[in-house]
Symmetry: C2
Subunit: 327 residues, 2 copies
């Protein structure tokens, strides 16, 4: 009645791709192929659920590698679970496609599946529709009761940490979009950081018992740290020079611009978390920073709002860019 694009036989084809995607898990009693999946949660665990959508032209450029789209659609959801300290188990995938192309589906499913298997995530439900390219993934996982990391449990004085080197993905996207010269990224490191982000699931899992609050960095470190602080009823102060940046990013755009991108670029899928000063020694001892790749960038404050300091001066961000002024 309404145009449905791909025919039933094409949907059957897609279902075949979905059936072989992801990890095999013994807690999946019924996966792709019926009206719904049947799953067995471990006793005593809380279920953790998140959903995220990637739209072509909004979250990734039109013409992105299909494997990257599949990888990122799952990665952004794994990152949500990482931010809760939860272990992922199952994913459901809703894929809207303008047309059915077997090579595209093969690559897309390959990208999704490789990441799913590396995190032991089973694809338990799939749904395909005709329309503008968009991918929605629902992720389900578990966390021991009352141990999940929330955004809202930070306290003034807690130190603020970030994992990895934010800003790389924003530069990689700029290269993908020809806004930054590809020659500035000779080995493709920055592009890879955008196309194939690494959600910090293992780190999130380990941070339970140390972190008071945690959020995943998807919209830019500055904004996401501000969201964590706001949810915790605090403000946040970030030291510009302490924001970690990769050699590759500094080499591509210079140190100043690298830190600006690290604070505002987005698409990082790193974790921003808070630890009370009394717990920092234990954190550093049990989860060595050199192995886990995190560093301290500031602290939560009583006063609300987000402040970036540079050698004692406050830097203020405005929509038109960065303004520097003494304070």
């Amino acid at each position: 009645m309404i145009s449905r694009g791909p025919g039933l036989s094409e949907f059957a084809l897609i279902e075949r791709y979905f059936r072989k995607a992801g990890a095999m898990r013994s807690d999946v009693q019924l996966g792709v192929g019926d009206d719904a999946a049947l799953l067995q949660s471990p006793p005593g665990a809380q279920l953790v659920a998140a959903v995220d959508t990637l739209v072509a032209g909004v979250h990734f450029p039109h013409g992105s590698p299909p494997a990257s789209i599949g990888h990122r659609a799952l990665a952004v959801n794994l990152s949500d679970l990482a931010a809760m300290g939860a272990r992922p188990a199952w994913a459901l995938l809703a894929l809207t496609l303008p047309e059915v192309s077997e090579p595209w589906l093969e690559e897309f499913t390959g990208g999704f599946s490789a990441l799913a298997r590396s995190h032991d995530v089973a694809l338990v439900g799939g749904n395909t529709t005709s329309g503008p390219l968009s991918v929605t993934v629902q992720i389900l996982g578990h966390v021991a009761k009352s141990t999940a990391l929330l955004r809202s449990r930070g306290r003034p004085g807690d130190l603020v940490f970030v994992s990895g080197t934010p800003g790389d993905a924003a530069a990689g996207l700029a290269i993908e979009q020809s806004r930054l010269a590809a020659s500035s990224d000779p080995d493709g490191y920055l592009r890879k950081r955008f196309l194939y982000p690494s959600p910090r699931v293992a780190l999130g899992d380990c941070l339970r018992g140390y972190a008071t609050a945690c959020i995943d960095v998807s919209d830019g470190l500055l904004g996401d740290a501000g969201k964590l602080a706001h949810a915790s009823g605090c403000g946040v102060r970030i030291a510009f020079d302490d924001v970690p940046v990769s050699e590759q990013l500094v080499s591509a755009v210079g140190e100043q611009r690298a830190r600006e991108l690290a604070l505002t670029g987005g698409e990082d899928y790193e974790l921003c978390f808070t630890v009370p000063p009394s717990e920092v020694d234990r954190l550093r001892h049990n989860l060595p920073a050199e192995r886990w790749g995190y560093c301290c960038i500031g602290s939560l404050s009583e006063a609300s709002g987000t402040v970036v300091t540079n050698k004692g001066s406050v830097i203020e961000f405005s929509h038109s860019g960065w303004d520097h002024f003494g304070s």
Copy 2:
């Protein structure tokens, strides 16, 4: 970096709509607002999960009432759970919007929320993105272990039933699209059947213990009964004159066309289920058909394939319409 359409303040607005949508449930430890939801499944139950997407211009006409879009996005998922005999508990909503309109969001959330509350479903996660209008809902529910209704457990000789009066929704859609005169639907009954379908959650819940197999009717009764039969390793025979049709549909399009629409129209969100002949008396006694609104339309066969009979003759469906020939 990539255009994100609505700004953060607009997303905050949308989140406010999501926070007040749906039922309140004590098993939701953390709902909308963090990176993921924290949920407590009842002990011993299996988790049941499904996902469905509605795309503007594909699953509903552009310009559909926002309340209908919200209602249908949840209804199609509730219908998936109904087909498993599961009780719904929690939903996550991924909404892609070309622009942010408060009146639209108010109506959309109202439609979603009314249906959610009537089924005691909490909205536990929401995600909004900028892009062509599309709604993906993930539904989570529960069913007692090893009691779920599958598509695959039908056996030759089982009688095939359908709930409600399929075909109404297809006619209602045709009226919405001006392919059928609105005057043929004087009280708006058929349009309402398309715009606000009633998922058969209570019936699905009751059918556990009677039905051998069950599927929800979304793509047309003929095709969906065929899918059930195929999954069960059977064929299916349907008696044309036994296909239930509403008075309103017969009045709008005539009896012959009404039954054709009932078999092929789609968008019904009724249940098609199978019951062994030995169990039919118990079914009819404990779940009276006049109260539950189902009727027998045929049976599963050893021979594969889908056959429609009319007064002993086989009717064959082709893509160009209906062909009648003797047999």
